[in-house]
Assembly symmetry: C2
Homo-oligomer: 348 residues x 2
């Protein structure tokens, strides 16, 4: 497996996207964001997406240069049409809008229309936390991503629907980023390729029977992923998944049903920011979150565990290591990136 420095991957990603027709600014934002995910070990949201984005530009799903426009707003809300451009570019614009409104109003949220795949959701609340704000985010997906069965059902009706939040501390922000299902679809695909079983209690086959065989999930006929908390507490994950659907689509006025859904767009983003200055104060908030993180971390380690792991801590450790040792990229991923480059007329 080839290993690259972050800088080499950023350069390759920017060149590829620019060759596909993205502006210098877009290429930089998107490539840097994907490399950042790879640095943190979140490979399913990392440079593996470069070739996919290049494909989407070619087939017209992603429209480089599409304007991002606020179609409806108040002092603390915005409905943002991302115009079908790069999802990461659209989401970063939404971050700016929400941060500015939260700074002025104490609280702000925005939802998106025509937003393509945004990559790592946690990135957006994390950017709010870097400005001293509290951030909360979720994204849903259109029908083709409905892998997750509702509580009591055996047919997919929800996407893996991640939720993320971030809060500033005296050090790096706390960043929580979780799917509301038992496992991400991308991870099942990796297990299928490896010939490994899926952790027990994660998936059902098409008949609704529990299985650990990734082949029985993909079918056909296709099985489903169980909602987070299954089997006993799956109603909680189902409820969280519904929350994400409602915030990602219904709030924006986008039909959630298969018939009504616009095709092609990846994510319905909900992003909220709270300025602690409107409550107990920004500095005090940062200090109290830091103190609580420290207090929680004093819990003696559970048997077999190395101690309390705060949200984002494992990603941060991977980032440090990969900055030093480089980012391993699967042969197939690198092959696809080079092939996408060749189709766009460059050699990577």
């Amino acid at each position: 497996m080839p290993v690259f420095s972050a800088e080499d991957l950023r350069r390759a990603g920017r060149r590829l996207l620019a060759a596909c027709g993205a502006s210098e600014e877009e290429s930089g934002l998107v490539a840097d964001e994907l490399v950042e995910s790879s640095l943190r070990g979140l490979d399913s949201h990392g440079v593996v997406r470069l070739a996919m984005y290049a494909d989407h530009v070619r087939d017209g799903t992603i429209k480089p240069g599409a304007p991002v426009t606020v179609v409806k707003e108040s002092a603390s809300t915005a409905l943002v049409d991302c115009g079908g451009g790069f999802g990461i570019v659209g989401a970063l614009k939404v971050v700016e809008i929400v941060a500015e409104k939260a700074r002025a109003s104490g609280l702000a949220c925005a939802t998106s229309l025509r937003l393509n795949h945004v990559g790592r959701l946690g990135s957006f609340p994390e950017r709010l936390a870097a400005r001293g704000l509290f951030g909360l985010a979720s994204t849903n997906s259109p029908r083709h991503g409905h892998f997750v069965s509702p509580w009591g059902g055996r047919e997919g009706r929800l996407a893996t629907n991640p939720l993320a939040w971030a809060a500033p501390t005296d050090g790096a922000p706390l960043v929580m980023d979780m799917s509301t299902s038992m496992i991400a679809e991308g991870k099942i695909r990796v297990l299928l390729q490896e010939g490994s079983p899926v952790p027990e209690g994660s998936i059902l086959d098409a008949d609704g029977s529990p299985t650990t065989d990734p082949g029985r999930f993909y079918g056909p006929p296709r099985g489903t992923i169980l909602p987070f908390g299954s089997p006993r507490l799956g109603y909680k994950g189902f409820g969280l998944g519904l929350l994400v659907e409602i915030l990602g689509s219904a709030l924006s006025g986008v039909p959630l049903t298969p018939e009504g859904q616009p095709s092609g767009y990846g994510n319905g983003l909900f992003l909220m920011a709270i300025d602690p200055e409107a409550f107990g104060g920004r500095d005090l908030f940062r200090r109290l979150v830091s103190e609580f993180a420290a207090y929680v971390s004093t819990s003696a380690p559970a048997p077999g565990a190395g101690g309390v792991i705060l949200p984002g801590a494992l990603d941060a450790a991977t980032r440090e290591r990969r900055l030093r040792e480089g980012i391993p990229v699967a042969d197939e991923t690198w092959r696809q990136i080079r092939e996408a480059g060749r189709r766009a007329g460059i050699e990577l």
Copy 2:
């Protein structure tokens, strides 16, 4: 076990609270709210709390008639001092404040200071949904409620920290109300009294070893409840629990550490409302949520399940049945209510 009509329990509750010094309005709000929880089968948040509240009035923890005041606000935010009155009275006032601001600004949130036990958390977003708004709520608890171990730890550092949301539909609102732990402490106490085991994977003993023995949870030394999603995905429940702590205390400027925490007050409430009118529109939102609930419900039943169960559906069914058949109240609960009445000089 005696069975009462909702009306009889409301009357008894109002008389008890009034005899303890609550105003007619307070007695009505609190008793009605607790009976509503009992109607839905949420007995741990129902009339079992009447005697507890009476005790708290007597020992000064609850101060009937305490004013609820907004100590800091903007068009879309409020920091509300609930003054140590009845928690339900304070939380209902927060609902009014948030609803009014959301109607005016499209989005609003509030947090609380000096708020006693609020009962069923889902009640507050549900009241927002009844006005066509989307509602989100959470509550944390002070140190004595830190039953839940953080991910990787074996000592309690979090409360069971519920999260709730509600959205309007063409029928009853969807209402999700969940703890961020594997089980509520109140349920473990019931299992202890019954001599029943706790479901596997829910609790640790004081050494951090998994157990199903409720006696080993209570100790001494006390064990802990695992975060929701344990064992494999407990980091998600831990992250959700941290979110609730941060919104419930740090945002308001209330120290989260044991040393810094004000004693006696039950809950740090975070309540948010979004007016869909600021996005896709209120009527469209209601219709789209209804359509999505219907679409989700078409998922064929999983083996052994009766079909999809939407958030709040089981509670609503229990409510219908208990309205017809009455509310069973445990002998011990009724004994405590009568005793509390006698101490306050009335016969129930």
